[in-house]
């Protein structure tokens, strides 16, 4: 994970774990690395790692087992996929249309490009 400036690091940590769940790197019901492991690996303050993971705990993606660690909740992958699909238009299509507008690329041309892909 490479951090960028546009978003706070704790948000990027949460998104990085989400990516891991979506790609299957962290399967459902498997243990994810501990706060210490995340902090050491990415050289970030443990408070930041905790804040990031707490986003996932609060939304039910990850749950804590006392004394054992943190686990990916059942159904998380589908839940995340739905969330990302809902955000797809905002995060990707809108940006693409804005750039196309600046360059004078029409919607028809974009559709042709997609068909040729």
């Amino acid at each position: 994970m490479e951090f960028e400036n546009e978003k706070p690091i704790f948000v990027q940590i949460a998104e990085g774990i989400e990516d891991g769940i979506l790609t299957g790197a962290f399967p459902e019901e498997s243990r994810i690395p501990s706060i210490t492991e995340f902090s050491v690996m990415y050289k970030i303050n443990p408070a930041t790692a905790l804040k990031g993971i707490n986003i996932l705990v609060d939304s039910g993606i990850v749950y804590k087992k006392r004394g054992v660690g943190m686990f990916v909740a059942e159904g998380s992958k589908e839940k995340l996929a739905k969330k990302r699909r809902d955000a797809f238009f905002e995060s990707y299509i809108k940006k693409m249309l804005a750039e196309a507008g600046r360059l004078g690329i029409t919607k028809e041309e974009i559709i042709d490009m997609l068909k040729g892909e």
Binding site: F3, T36, K43, I44, N45
Partner: protein
């Protein structure tokens, strides 16, 4: 809550005011970045806190007790600084044992393990080390000392990229398993920016920023694009610096911006800690 409190500390060197009415609190179990340009007063402040030099006025308390000539309070503080306070002709492994005399919680076994990881030969004399290994020697002591307040003045001086990386990892691992208050004074701001939780910026002997890293980063943004459009946009805003090349201009601005109010052709981006620092401490 346990903390070190610096109240109204002022320090003069002959005709120069090195520190002017410094007020700061370092809370237990938190990692701070102490940032400032050369000569800003960082080292002076750290030396005053650890009672190596005295202030002209003001006070430092450790967990509520005045630190001045107070062994109990001072035993809670460890300062890693440029000066080597060990006697000459002392081997590193002896220096570890020696340190334990002053800091009973010093973990000799851990220190030896770190020495191995950093490739430091503990049979060497403490005065025979290169700049990099001198820093490594001092880092190892600071990480092994187990004092509640650890101050690191330029800890990565002369360290290569691999050793800096190892240092940050060891520090975080140590801190995550057994938290302590750690204040890091450094010029390598980018590297330390993810490690620290709070930032203190000192300029010309005064504290100009003292807040969480995340909240500080939210206070500024950069805007770039055609010079005329940028100038138009920054009218009436608090600009802390600009860069231009040809007709392109980038302005560093304090305050918040709503991305929707930014005209087409201008690009807004967040400021990183180093850029913000450079702009705040220029001039």
């Amino acid at each position: 809550m346990n903390c070190i409190e610096v109240r109204g500390v002022t320090k003069d060197y002959k005709n120069t005011r090195a520190l002017n009415n410094i007020n700061l609190t370092f809370e237990e179990n938190k990692i701070y970045g102490l940032l400032g340009r050369n000569g800003a007063g960082k080292s002076t402040l750290l030396k005053i806190i650890s009672n190596r030099i005295f202030s002209n006025s003001g006070s430092v308390t450790v967990d509520g007790e005045n630190a001045m000539e107070n062994d109990k309070a001072l035993s809670k503080i460890y300062l890693m600084s440029e000066s080597n306070l060990y006697p000459p002709k002392l081997k590193i492994k002896k220096a570890f044992k020696w340190t334990k005399e002053f800091y009973p919680d010093f973990d000799v076994e851990y220190a030896n393990r770190l020495a191995k990881e950093f490739g430091l030969n503990v049979n060497k004399n403490t005065r025979s080390l290169s700049t990099g290994y001198n820093s490594i020697f001092k880092i190892i002591i600071a990480l092994s000392v187990n004092a509640p307040y650890v101050f690191l003045d330029e800890p990565v001086l002369g360290l290569d990229a691999n050793h800096r990386d190892l240092f940050y990892r060891c520090l975080i691992e140590k801190y995550a398993e057994n938290p302590f208050c750690c204040v890091i004074s450094t010029h390598l701001i980018e590297e330390v920016s993810t490690v620290i939780e709070d930032v203190v910026i000192i300029k010309n002997g005064e504290v100009i920023r003292n807040q969480t890293r995340d909240s500080l980063l939210e206070t500024g943004f950069t805007i770039s694009g055609a010079a005329g459009a940028v100038d138009e946009f920054i009218k009436g805003r608090e600009v802390i610096g600009t860069d231009s090349i040809g007709g392109l201009k980038t302005a560093y601005v304090l305050g918040k911006v709503d991305k929707n109010e930014v005209p087409d052709g201008l690009e807004v981006s967040a400021m990183d800690l180093q850029k913000l620092f450079v702009q705040l401490t220029n001039s």
